[in-house]
């Protein structure tokens, strides 16, 4: 039952809208908007590269 409900979110018809989150290439977001779809864009940037000792300490304090 819950499986259907979850994947059910893929269904789109007049009432049931599709809400899309785009993360990464902006052109995909633009194309979705061109198709008139509800979409938002997340401008992703790579996470910081930290030195090993900092990573280690962080893993213990967070």
């Amino acid at each position: 039952m819950s499986m259907d409900k979850r994947i059910h979110k893929l269904k789109v018809n007049d009432k049931n809208e599709l809400n899309i989150l785009n993360i990464g290439l902006e052109i995909f977001y633009n194309d979705l908007r061109k198709q008139g779809v509800n979409a938002i864009h997340v401008a992703w940037k790579p996470p910081v590269k930290l030195e090993k000792d900092i990573e280690d300490i962080l893993s213990k304090v967070m």
């Binding site: 996470p47 910081v48 900092i54 300490i57 962080l58 213990k60 304090v61 967070m62």
Partner: protein, 422 residues
Amino acid sequence: MSLAEEIEKANETAVNRMMEAQALWVDIGEARKIIPGFKDMMLTHAGPPITWNKASGPLRGALIGAAILEGWANSPDEAIKLLERGEIVLKPNHELNAVGPMAGVISPSMPVIVVKDPKYGNYAYSNLNEGIGKVLRYGAYDKSVLDRLKWMHDELYPALKAAVDLIVKEKGGLDLKSIIAQALNMGDECHNRHMAATSLFINEVMEYLIKADLPKDQLLRVLSFMKNNTFTFLNFAMAAAKVFTLAGHNIKYSTIVTVMSRNGTEVGIWVSGLGNTWFTAPAPIPKGVFFPGFSQNDANPDIGDSAITETAGFGGFAMAAAPAIISWVGGTVDYALEITNKMYQITHTKHRYFKIPYLSFQGTPVGIDIRKVLKTGIEPTLNTGIAHKEPGVGQIGAGIVSIPMDLFKQALRKYAEVYGIT
């Protein structure tokens, strides 16, 4: 409790105290008399500890001007000799619970305001704002600068003293926190824009200045001076920020930043759980817009204690509250929003009392957590005035600057050492 839980608890305590702390202006007096630990032949300054030979142009200019003002030297050359020989002790403002904008130099006879937090018992101090243009805090020290400082000592200070004494008698002190909270709803961020805050301040103080029965021409000069200097409230805001952050300082285990400050050569931070330990790095040069005739090449590295406002959760962190500042610092309104949004990711919580109307009255980002800074890679961002790197020239622009990541790495390593994390 696990270490992470201890830290969360400590941070919650520290930031709660920062938000609940009060700030009342209660007195004004000469630095030597008012600030515990202030000695003769001593000059305090903004930022982490520094020596004369490492000091940048604006700080040098301010130190020279202060030495002459105090009568220790009769000329810039004499002043320089004193400073070179180390005959004047230089001490960071923060180490005496004081703060000063830009060079932030405070000398023994300078009038300093006293701000008290009755809730947690802390006191903080700041000097009086000279205005814009050719001023000591930007490293200018010619006759006009020194004359103005003398006037501030001889006329402005007594006027304010008379007023504050009356205020204290009537209601215990002037509530600065409430002025800041209101100003944030009126388009100020209370670091580089104080138009509303200064107006509110003058509103409050006016009645008492009149009651003080000052000679009319002195009263008019005092009012005119404060009115024409939109930065009048800056030093009050900074002292308030200092008592807020003092309330959150020295909380065991806390990873919250309680001081961010620059001296024109280096930038330094303190972390609540690590006491008065300075972590320092070279100060970056702010990027922004410049007055005609000046460019990035003329700019001095970042300078000033005013980053205490961001540390306390307003100033540049509330940039979204002051879209007007954006043209001044060369960005766009969206950029201001983006910065504020980014600051949410590195802070502990949203301020209970300082709200941003544009963001549906969300609280400002408060309590920079060194762990979050490192994890997200987002450096705290502030706006600031930009000084010319040569002493004596003054302000040449305004812009945005970040506090370097390296400081937070140093702090985390020290934290691991102190708290025994292997």
